[in-house]
Symmetry: C2
Subunit: 209 residues, 2 copies
Amino acid sequence: MKTSVSSKTIGRLSLYRRLLGRALQKGETHFYSHQLAKLAKGTAAQVRRDLMAIGYSGNPSKGYDIKELIGSIGDFLDAPEGENAALIGVGNLGIALLTYFSGRRPKLSVKAAFDKDFGKIGRLFGSCMCYPMSELGKVVAEKKIRIAIIAVPAEEAQKTADRLAKANIKGILNFAPVPLHLPADIFVEDMDMTMALEKVAFFARAASE
Amino acid sequence: MKTSVSSKTIGRLSLYRRLLGRALQKGETHFYSHQLAKLAKGTAAQVRRDLMAIGYSGNPSKGYDIKELIGSIGDFLDAPEGENAALIGVGNLGIALLTYFSGRRPKLSVKAAFDKDFGKIGRLFGSCMCYPMSELGKVVAEKKIRIAIIAVPAEEAQKTADRLAKANIKGILNFAPVPLHLPADIFVEDMDMTMALEKVAFFARAASE
DNA sequence: GCCTGTGAAGCTATTCACAGCT
DNA sequence: AGCTGTGAATAGCTTCACAGGC
């Protein structure tokens, strides 16, 4: 049932939830689709379509109840038991990501880090222990980890991904600037920062002339 | 003319260039569209369409000349004089990005960093001097900076973006997890890592049942 | 009147499929 | 035979526009 929702819609739902959370903290209680659209830089029709996908219904006169809607998005997006992640590659970027993700979502946290550098193994980064790669399978099973973040150099990314696949990881957030070749049942989301920066450079130039 | 190429195509061209560079280093000289497609995890037809967009033509019998193609992509994507970027927000993430982007592309480099923390101002990060925000306009003009990377906390992102707009920045790579409201002639690419991780969590779960 | 929910239209992006070349 | 380049077809996503409700 839920597999029929597009990746783009899932992304926007994640965004809506955050924006709604901020509105809630400011004391708002209800929102119209066009208000949420404005915050999210989308259109009202799209907001309504996205909410249709999760089966949430608003009220034509008051709009959407913010608290309720946040709950509905959570019911749809989050695993009830929460989701544990592993970080592979405790370099500059890896450490920044650990900090960035820590405490952001109650149901989604990085529970273990891995590196091949013996200087890092056994140390705590934030509240996250760094293990050697050889213990990947064991730790992943113990801590019920299902998703992983790859923050290793490009040359090691594919090898790392293969090990993750063997460890039964089902989803990967990939920061290495190379596409990963993996079995089709593993979901991969690429964060190609080089691509992103080159895009910005290109369109900035295109706009300037 | 070049504005007619879609953002997705631009992104893939950036990827192709990197993949071709690696193939070149391995000693390859020619490539067929299906070979590049395999590396890029796309289809042969799409590779050919993308190359059509930049007006590069291959040879039906030998395929594409790798060196030549890298050159053509460069002619299309890169500003001949190069493109200078600024980094705003020298926290954990900002520093990781400085390291990540340094030396990756000859024609695209981060030339200045900005922060509001006086402890950071005046220091060198990598080869990048950290300036106070008050000097943004001046430094941007002096160093001919046209694009910027936002790596500040969510609460400060919009304010930072407004200052960048005032400083005549034409493109922004935004790592803050909030959409930015800016004049339409400024290109913004969002790197919403929270969204990406939630997507991975969702589809990993969907695949597991 | 101004909202939501949604079928239908419109767009954009991708893939098919084949003519033309070597 | 096996490739490229490309019109035509398809699939996927977004927006329009309006019925129905308060």
